[in-house]
């Protein structure tokens, strides 16, 4: 029964994207129905992964080296589950926040995005992953182009070219690996792969592709504008789900395929530190609310990359892995909640200027509370998923005596506290009068509570951190 | 055979240079279409006839037509620099 879940996870997005595109008047209905089905399927998959021994699904019945194999791993399927949950809530949010013409195309496109995510998180075949990456990239750009201002379209064009060049680099890596070993399947490649110059070059190209697509610091020029100018639910999907997919691939390849060079892995970790501070400072300086959140994404991506500093054998790798996994989950939930809540505030205030948002806590208390919860998780205050992540990172940095990273983690936390508290204090001081309440609409209640759910979970799930660690093994 | 190969590849390289460094956009598009056709010949030399067919039809044909249409549109609205 669990075996057929994998084709089901391919069939469902394809069918619902078709339905949503055909009957564009009912796109929202099909989208939300898809969100429910997809979420329950991914929960079933999680259950299957937890109870069964690892298995592989061979498409077309052709065994691995020739055919395409999918294999659900624990980490990949849990990110898929969290992604499906975020997607469901964002779909509900989009039903009430987007205009009808935008909705008609938002749902089919983001359903295709789900298809791409399934391929990336489950596939064992590096060429299929390439097609999955192209699906994700095109969906992301198409979604961010739903906002038709020149600024947004320019940002989407820059995004499109970055993601296409990155796909080309990844494809070149695949080309070199196939030319050398004549194989495309990851688990078939592991025993034969050797440390040789062509292989290392292939890995180099792949890593650059992933860095560009994940928007790691020097290559993050496309992210801020693309995320900040998109419609709110799109921003949430882009920063919560899309960049995680390529980061997951980078981690997966590093853990299974790449022959690891410590210099390279330290280089990646230093990039992460650069990202933490660059993103944090830019976020502190920005005067636009959505731009602040987008720069905070760049900063948070840095924490994900820190795992590469602790991957060698001197330290306990499972501790750094837990830290990275919690950083990923916390950012996925907190950032989507943050974007969705900020969308409500921006909608009521009709402006994105931070200085104009003084005192909005009295008008949308639930959204501001959601933002505060997200901030707790992003800064890493206890009790939150972000805290669990930072705690593990600090422990592994302390145990491996890498003081540089220890201070980087603490400094990054202080920096994010600086810009997030600045924002929260602004929301809370000088409450606005009742007159502004007129701009509130009925639908805002639903919007607020979907955002609140996500932010709340990013804090609340910390109480289950032990069982999450146990699940990841 | 080596002579034909060399000729083909030199032509490809020259077209690639032209596409990258010419100033005029229209010129670049025309060179790109010719590039697609020569590339199809290269696929034939490599024994990949499926690719030659697809390259002529998709790469040179449809992409070329779309590019020409796009440049016409951009010229009409006076935003060739976009």
């Amino acid at each position: 029964m669990f075996n057929n879940l994998i084709p089901a996870l391919i069939i469902t997005p394809a069918l619902f994207a078709i339905l949503g595109f055909l009957f564009s008047k009912r796109a929202a209905f099909f989208g939300i129905a898809f969100g429910l089905i997809f979420f329950s399927e991914s929960l079933l998959l999680l259950y299957g992964v937890a109870t069964k021994s690892p298995w592989a699904y061979h498409f077309g019945g052709w065994q691995a080296p020739l055919g395409i194999a999918f294999a659900p791993l624990r980490f990949g399927s849990s990110i898929l589950g969290v992604s499906a949950f975020v997607m469901l809530l964002t779909f509900i949010y989009a039903r009430f926040s987007l205009q009808e013409s935008q909705r008609a195309l938002f749902y089919p496109l983001s359903t295709f995005l789900a298809l791409g995510l399934v391929v990336v998180y489950l596939s064992q075949d590096i060429f299929t992953i390439y097609v999955g990456l192209e699906i994700i990239g095109l969906c992301a750009v198409g979604l961010s182009a739903l906002q038709k201002s020149p600024k947004a379209l320019h940002a989407s064009l820059v995004y499109l070219f970055s993601t296409l060049v990155a796909s080309g680099f990844y494809l070149l890596g695949v080309v070199i690996i196939y030319a050398k070993y004549g194989l495309l399947n990851i688990s078939a490649l592991i025993p034969v792969i050797q440390e040789e110059l062509p292989t290392l070059v292939a890995f180099g190209f792949m890593v650059v592709a992933f860095l560009l697509k994940t928007a790691v610091f020097p290559l993050s020029f496309w992210l801020a504008n693309a995320h900040a100018n998109a419609p709110t639910p799109v921003s949430a999907l882009l920063s919560a789900l899309v960049i995680k997919a390529t980061f997951y691939l980078m981690y997966l390849f590093a853990a299974t395929l790449f022959i690891f060079e410590y210099e390279l892995s330290y280089f990646l970790a230093f990039l992460g530190v650069g990202a933490i501070f660059y993103g944090g400072i830019k976020a502190y300086l920005s005067s636009d609310l959505k731009l602040l959140i987008a720069y905070s994404t760049i900063s948070q991506v840095g924490y994900l990359l820190l795992i590469f500093a602790f991957i060698d054998e001197h330290t306990d790798p499972s501790m750094a892995f837990n830290a990275m996994a919690f950083a990923l989950f916390s950012h996925t939930l907190a950032k989507s909640g943050f974007f969705l809540a900020a969308g409500v505030v921006v909608h009521i205030a009709q402006t994105k200027e931070i200085s104009a948002l003084q005192g909005y806590a009295s008008i949308t208390p639930v959204s501001v509370f959601a933002i505060a919860l997200s901030a707790v998780s992003l800064i890493g205050l206890p009790p939150s998923l972000g805290f669990v992540s930072k705690w593990y990172y600090l422990q592994s940095a302390y145990l491996s005596e890498s003081w540089f990273f220890l201070f980087a983690i603490i400094g990054g936390g202080i920096l994010s506290a600086a810009y997030l508290f600045k924002l929260l204090i602004l929301f809370l001081e000088h409450p606005l009068e009742e007159g502004h309440l007129l701009r509130r609409e009925k639908s805002h209640t639903t919007l607020e509570w979907t955002a609140f759910t996500l932010s709340f979970l990013s804090v609340f799930l910390a109480f289950f951190s032990n069982s999450i660690i146990a699940f990841m093994g | 055979m080596l002579l034909i190969d060399t000729l083909l590849l030199v032509l490809l390289l020259w077209l690639g240079f032209k596409i990258t460094f010419t100033k005029d956009h229209f010129n670049a598009i025309i060179h790109f279409i010719v590039f697609g056709m020569i590339l199809a010949l290269a696929w034939v030399r490599l024994g990949a006839f499926d690719l030659a067919l697809a390259e002529i039809a998709l790469g040179a044909g449809i992409t070329g037509a779309l590019l020409l249409d796009t440049i016409t549109f951009l010229k009409k609205i006076g935003r060739e620099d976009a």
Binding site: I18, L22, T128, V131 | D50, I62, A65, L68, T72
Partner: protein, 220 residues
């Protein structure tokens, strides 16, 4: 000035990238590809005799399914841009071209079908055929823009999605007998030909829609 130094640095880097990469790629010594040998072992069960078609529509049919998804997806993304760019489109309408096209278009369509069916034993197949068909439609559109017949939006959309839909349906039917998209021997050639035919029509429609949608878009 800064721009100039940046450019010369860029050209310098590009040159060394070229040298290094060509050195590495020309000195690659390949291990024996086990995929390659497996392919020839499996060929008798694939239902077709042309290896490329067998890989595309049988051994690695999932890739092709996703790729059809990409084509459909980019059409949807184009719709998101509301592409009714109203301007006088390229057209070459006169008596000579009209007569020429009246003869040419049926020939192109016929040739597309030939390419499609010859795909099972020689080079060809759905993608080239659909591109030919789309090329024919585009020429028709260029030459006879005014007499061009456009069906209703909903019918067009059915046509666009039919390729992916049929592919997924074949996958679901094959789930009852084995894995997703599993077909062997006798039934395989039937499935492959039918998938290719539907793909040709729907991809032809999508590819020509890339071109035509930008100019005239019918409201639903």
């Amino acid at each position: 000035m800064r721009n100039k130094t940046f450019h010369s640095l860029l050209y310098f880097l590009a040159f060394w990238l070229f040298v290094g990469l060509s050195f590495i790629l020309t000195n690659i010594n390949t291990l024996d590809s086990s995929m390659h040998t497996k392919l020839f072992e499996a060929m008798p069960h694939s239902g077709v005799t042309h290896e490329v078609t067998a890989v595309l529509l049988n051994f690695r049919a999932l890739d092709t399914l996703l790729e059809v998804g990409v084509i459909l997806l980019s059409l949807i993304a184009i719709h998101a841009l509301e592409p009714n760019f109203r301007y006088t489109p390229l057209s070459f309408e006169n008596t000579i071209t009209n007569t020429f096209v009246a003869i040419l278009f049926p020939l192109i369509a016929l040739y597309a079908f030939y390419i499609l069916y010859s795909g099972s034993y020689q080079s060809g197949g759905a993608f080239s055929a659909s591109a030919l068909l789309a090329g024919g439609i585009i020429i028709l559109r260029l030459v006879k823009p005014r007499s061009f017949f456009v069906p209703k939006e909903l019918i067009l959309r059915f046509l666009y999605v039919s390729g992916l839909f049929y592919f997924v349906c074949v996958g679901m039917i094959s789930l009852f007998f084995g894995s997703f998209l599993e077909y062997r021997d006798y039934i395989a050639s039937f499935y492959i030909i039918s998938i290719e035919s539907v793909l040709m029509l729907s991809l032809g429609a999508i590819l020509s829609a890339y071109f035509i949608n930008a100019v005239q878009r019918v409201k639903p």
